[in-house]
């Protein structure tokens, strides 16, 4: 019958556009909670692993059982570098000195990775120097974002590891959600903290795949941990993943619960408002399945539009966060949208249950009552 051809669900939903907008934006805002949190999480993973992912090293050697940089102390005897160089397949090996400390300028202070690297090769240095030059003795590279936050620039002084350094240049891409990165020369670092290395960066010969080199190194240096670049980056990402997992689970659950209550409310109120119309349809011969289809289609419309609204809002909020707080990166990933959309469908199905029950019990005689 004609019930099938008239888009009743869509008309029901949009007959009062203001109500439809309130519902769609409300449900969309609940999904924003999930998407933004996912985006901050993905952005943090990008930031935390950036140094490793952009390193020219194919393989990293660390203290035994040390697999990360963040919140990690690693110490290798200086002689390790010579041991590494003798291993088959090694093109170059370079020591990297590393610790976590604070960089201070006046009263301002930021938590920072301090990296001591060989400035002659720059292999352990920053991805890019945005301004100025690599550090010499008594000098440091400070990340652009951190320099803004500390109110310093090239030529100014900062305190790192208790010593004053003059800023020789500004590096890019080294500030993340938790800390920033400063670079000093390997010799300055050794002068303050001693000659040990935290990591050895290793380049593979052209004919040696990095996994093969990693195997060679692991066999030759059993008292160390040897990881390929990807594995090291994954291990680093796992730190963020492990730390954020519980917070993410709690917030995601709350976001979806709010969405569930909101979709339920929307469908329920719309079903009550249209009870008489449903009665007319039933009086005209529409069966329960047709009426149920209307409710389900309304749920589908609400969710589809809410997801679109949520993605648009999340991208806009993410851009605003990135602009206002440059140490934050919000990366709204397609996989996150897909995951949220799929979960939203489940939520919508659950939310439709109560209105469905109401519709199935509509009495055709309702059509003939005064509203």
């Amino acid at each position: 019958m004609s019930v099938r051809r008239i888009p009743l669900a869509r008309r029901n939903l949009f007959q009062d556009r203001r109500r439809a907008m309130l519902a769609i934006f409300g449900v969309g805002a609940a999904f924003v909670l999930v998407l933004i949190l996912d985006g901050i999480f993905a952005g943090a993973m990008n930031q935390v692993t950036a140094y490793i992912r952009h390193s020219p090293a194919d393989v990293f050697v660390a203290q035994r059982n040390v697999k990360t940089m963040h919140m990690t102390a690693s110490a290798l005897p200086p002689s390790t570098i010579e041991d590494v160089r003798t291993v088959d397949g090694v093109a170059w090996a370079e020591g990297l000195r590393f610790t976590t400390s604070t960089v201070n300028a006046g009263k301002a202070s930021l938590l920072t990775y301090v990296l001591g690297y060989d400035t002659s090769t720059a292999r352990g240095g920053p991805r890019r120097i945005a301004e100025g030059q690599a550090p010499g003795p008594g000098q440091t590279l400070v990340d652009t974002t951190a320099a803004d936050e500390l109110g310093v620039t090239v030529g100014d002084a900062v305190t790192i590891l208790g010593r004053r350094f003059t800023i020789s240049g500004l590096s890019a891409g080294g500030t993340n959600i938790v800390n920033t990165t400063v670079f000093i020369t390997a010799d300055d670092f050794a002068g303050i903290r001693g000659p040990t290395y935290a990591y050895i960066l290793v380049g593979a010969r052209a004919a040696t795949p990095s996994n093969v080199l990693a195997e060679h190194l692991a066999g030759a240096l059993p008292q160390t941990t040897v990881m390929g670049r990807e594995e090291f980056a994954d291990q680093e990402a796992n730190v963020v993943r492990s730390m954020a997992a519980d917070v993410m689970a709690i917030m995601t659950a709350i976001g979806f619960l709010i969405a569930l209550a909101l979709i339920g409310l929307t469908l329920f109120t719309s079903t009550i408002s249209k009870q008489r119309e449903y009665g007319i349809l039933k009086a005209l011969g529409a069966n329960t399945r047709h009426l149920a289809a209307i409710v389900v289609t309304q749920a589908a419309w609400t969710i589809a539009l809410a997801v679109v609204v949520a993605v648009a809002l999340s991208v806009a909020i993410g851009a605003a966060i990135g602009t206002l707080t440059p140490n934050f990166e919000v990366d709204i990933q397609f996989s996150s949208v897909l995951r949220t959309g799929t979960s939203a469908l489940v939520i919508g199905s659950l939310a439709a249950l109560l209105p469905l029950r109401r519709v199935t019990r509509v009495d055709p005689a309702t059509a003939f009552r005064r509203p």
């Binding site: 409300g26 990690t72 202070s109 709690i250 409310l265």
Partner: protein
């Protein structure tokens, strides 16, 4: 007439299921605001757990050190003797601290390792089960991590390539579990036997001791400044996401209240038309819209309080590393948020009512 008939309340209570669904949705938004506030307050309390409980008045560290967590201070071990030589120092003890990631059941667990000299100050201030470590192969770990990963006293655990025997469970801090071990054990883990991180000082004259020690080129920090800076560092990562979540929850609350009251009013458009035909002014109708949004927001506030208590109990039971604290400030903020939600949400229904023609009273459905 409209002054004596509680139309706003009757309108909302006419469809209790709608009011209940609205209250739950608003309540969830308020619960989220309360939980975020509660987590924030919990963070504030737990981040400074060490400074709050260890009883030191001053901390001597490497020059330039400003934090207890995160910044790795390294000073010569014999600094302790220099400090003890000061006449106003009642007691002094050395501790080494550093952050470390340990791997348990394929998860990376952030820990704050504290090495101290057994029998001296600086070690665990509370032992929940077992005892404090005495020898270099023993540790006391945070109870939350022990519970989560099924560790019992007597089990062994790998930390930075070495195995330790768990002899006790102790405290945790925000997102971190304390691992207490002997100072000698940390010397060996870091390969730095003649160094330490901090000298803790107990003194009745902190100002005088600070002045005396500062002259020697060491950083001397008092408990409050260390706690304040630790809080700033540890909460830096959470401030923005929590702020955004709070703002979104607030917007959700407004939208739900507006949706609920708008729907209720539009469904009774004819009745409101009658009121207008009988002489109700715009102000009467606006006040009626506001009273309805206050009813929904108030119901949401109550639901939010109940949901918060349930959510807090659930979170702290399932994830004991999170402390969720309900403060008077947070409660006042939630009430203010609910009232503001009601005020803003009233705008749309009030606008619609103001535009309503009295003639609508005489139209059919």
């Amino acid at each position: 007439m409209h002054g004596t008939v509680p139309l706003a309340r009757r309108n909302q209570l006419a469809e209790p299921r709608r009011l209940a669904a609205s209250a739950i949705a608003v309540g969830l938004a308020i619960m989220l605001i309360l939980l975020l506030d509660g987590l924030g307050a919990g963070i504030t309390r737990s981040v400074t757990a060490y400074e709050d409980n260890v009883g030191a008045d001053l901390y001597v560290a490497q020059a330039g050190t400003r934090n207890f967590f995160g910044a790795v201070s390294l000073i010569p071990r014999d600094t302790l003797e220099t400090v003890r030589a000061q006449p106003d120092v009642d007691w002094a003890a050395r501790i080494r601290t550093f952050l470390a990631i340990i791997e348990l059941h394929d998860r990376k667990i952030p820990t704050a390792i504290v090495g101290w000299v057994p029998g001296r100050r600086g070690g665990p201030w509370v032992i929940m089960e077992g005892r404090a470590p005495r020898s270099d192969n023993e540790v006391a770990i945070g109870r939350a991590v022990a519970d989560r990963h099924g560790f019992n006293v007597g089990d062994s655990i790998a930390i930075m390539g070495r195995r330790f025997r768990i002899v006790g469970t102790s405290a945790d801090t925000f997102m971190l579990s304390f691992v207490f071990m002997t100072h000698r054990a940390t010397d060996s883990l870091l390969g730095a036997p003649d160094t330490t991180s901090f000298i803790l000082i107990g003194t009745a004259r902190p100002g005088a001791v600070r002045a005396e020690l500062a002259a020697s080129g060491l950083a001397v920090l008092d408990r409050d400044e260390l706690a304040r800076r630790d809080l700033a560092v540890m909460t830096r990562a959470y401030k923005v996401p929590m702020g955004v979540m709070r703002a979104v929850a607030f917007v959700i609350g407004i939208l739900v209240v507006a949706l609920s009251v708008y729907t209720a009013m539009m469904d009774r458009r004819r009745e409101y038309g009658i009121l207008k035909a009988m002489g109700a002014t715009r102000r009467n109708l606006l006040s009626m819209a506001l009273r309805q949004t206050v009813i929904v927001a108030g119901a949401g506030l109550v639901a939010g309080g109940v949901l918060f208590m349930a959510g807090r109990a659930l979170i702290m039971n399932l994830r004991p590393q999170f402390t969720v604290v309900l403060t008077v400030d947070a409660t006042a903020r939630a009430v203010a948020a609910a009232l503001l939600m009601a005020a803003i949400a009233a705008l749309l229904p009030a606008h619609q009512l103001a535009r309503l023609e009295p003639a609508s009273a005489f139209r059919g459905g």
